[in-house]
Symmetry: C2
DNA sequence: ATGAAAGCGCTAACAT
DNA sequence: ATGTTAGCGCTTTCAT
């Protein structure tokens, strides 16, 4: 990489002259500017990012800590973050906490050494279960803003972007009730997470509001064989006619299992799950889905963070943005 | 963030004393070391990463450019890269090219300004189609090593990690032939990519080696309705008894469609596709898969790059590592 | 045992 | 119009 120093030497001028010329300073003579720019072009000069960061005490880099990149929703949010950040000239450093509290703490610590200007993160499962938030608070105290999305720690004071999880299952459940379904089951393999709980509550509320219905919640452990669990659910409860699934794979597997057992979907059984467009196409009939607008969530989070980073003024109050889900009717409901 | 300067001031010693004390230099007195370390601990001092990078001319950061983070295989590779990098104390800056040549060039340019010590990337679709490689060469010439994985540019001199794509479909096809299948079709929605072509060739070779069989290749465009395309394939060709799919969604949709049309899988029809464990469980019967060991690919790529970054010695010859796929028998084959 | 000073690449206030 | 200098935070060589 060429430096100002080298350019200056070759042109027989001072470093600051070169710097000013490249930054279109009025101070420098036309002819000099031309010569400098020509040589810079020739050598493909780029200002050293690290030197700029040190000088400005700004890295133009965002730290993103996500629990699991193989989760399609989270991957999609990351996509949204990257695109928005890139639009504003920011890079993203990605750390994967792998749902571990320790890794989450480490990543935060590691990047809070001047590597990034702020963080966007979704809380790891372990952290949510243990309800640990001190590491977030410490980071914020150190002057590094955090924006949390989806899985947030409600008692940490920072910007947040969340999904209307409660409402989404509440409404989805109600739509099945309106179809005339009488035995609606809720399936979840994320019952430990804040969002999983909210989704469960939304379902429960909708069911309980109809005094003649009974809530049934099936919790599937990650390590269990989903196909097996769902199959035995159907075998034990022959009268199930509706399913709300809190996660994608449960809903797709539910459709496949039902079809394989000879149940007519959606004639005898309606199924709704959280999934993206491409995922809903993997099921046949295509899954009626609750869309979370993951990319938007990422973009909003990035926007919030960048605003906060660049806002040198008085500390604004923290914001919580709610991104509403959309219920997209496909073939797995009436 | 506390700096050495602040610590030095508070302790009434010089900056260099503090620096040495923290780095366990023999030069500094026991008592001083103790005092310094105590205060550093108290203030939670961390050496400023940016300053270190500038000083050492090393960022301990890897630039990763992937075409699409919503592709599960690529996401998984990213996961592998992150884990391996993190093990060696490296961070990763992720850029998403979105299959666009322009974005790929920009990302490379943008990070080649001292932000990273090297790159790991998979070539964007557009770059592969247009066969553009100059930007890779430029980057390498600038002294930044590149490791390519999966979709590689064969005429760029750099380390590569690839999958034995040709062999994997060749072997998979042969296994269906050995099952006694007579009408084996190849389905692909990645026919434009280097890996897609190799997979197609592997299939063709296996078929052609059996003079009594005919190759049939179905290419599905990304924007088409996969379910519709595959359904009409089955309707037009009633005698299909084997499918090799080059991509995950084609294979899962093929199973669902077949089951919905009343075909017995695997009795009348065997299906093999590229997919991960969790994806193969989405189909019922579970998909027999070609596993690509994405995480390993990521880890190997990271390892290669880090070695090359740290190897100040004579330029070693570039390496191409081939990660062999595994054919995992599930329920969609005999 | 401790400190001063230079230098990594850059910008900007301050000379000339 | 051009140059000198200081400083961002750190390490390291060279005084003292």
């Amino acid at each position: 990489m060429v430096t100002l120093k080298q350019l200056a030497k070759e042109l027989n001028v001072s470093i600051s002259t070169v710097s000013k010329a490249l930054n279109n300073s009025e101070e420098i003579g036309e002819e000099t500017v031309r010569r400098v720019k020509e040589l810079a072009q020739l050598y493909n000069y780029r200002p050293n990012k690290v030197a700029l960061s040190l000088k400005n005490n700004k890295t133009k880099t965002i730290g993103v800590i996500i629990p699991n990149i193989l989760n399609r929703f989270l991957a999609k949010v990351l996509f949204g973050i990257e695109r928005e950040a890139s639009k504003h000239g920011y890079n993203i450093i990605t750390c994967i906490s792998n749902e571990s509290l320790t890794k989450e703490k480490e990543s935060l610590q590691l990047l809070a050494n001047g590597s990034v200007d702020g963080f966007i993160l979704s809380v790891a499962e372990e952290s949510q279960i243990k309800n640990e938030v001190e590491h977030f608070r410490n980071t914020i105290t150190q002057g590094l803003p955090i924006v949390m999305f989806d899985r947030v720690a409600h008692d940490v004071l920072c910007d947040k972007v969340i999904v209307d999880d409660f409402d989404s299952t509440y409404n989805a459940t109600k739509s099945l009730i309106e179809e005339g379904r009488k035995h609606i089951v809720f399936i979840s393999n994320i019952y430990d997470l804040s969002v999983g709980k909210l989704r469960e509550h939304g379902y429960n509320k909708a069911i309980i509001e109809n005094s003649n219905l009974q809530p049934t919640v099936i919790r599937i452990k990650k390590e269990d064989d989903h196909q097996q669990e769902i199959k035995s659910l159907f075998k034990k409860n022959k009268n199930i006619d509706g399913i709300i699934a809190a996660d994608t794979s449960s809903s797709i597997i539910a459709i496949n299992t039902a079809v394989n057992l000879g149940l007519k979907v959606p004639k005898q059984l309606s199924i709704i799950g959280f999934a993206s467009k491409s995922e809903s196409d993997l099921a046949m009939p295509k899954l009626t889905t609750i869309r979370q607008h993951a990319k938007d969530i990422g973009a909003i989070a990035a926007e919030l963070l960048i605003k906060r980073i660049q806002n040198t003024g008085p500390t604004e109050d923290v914001k919580t943005k709610i991104v509403k889900t959309t219920l997209v009717k496909n073939e797995s409901t009436l």
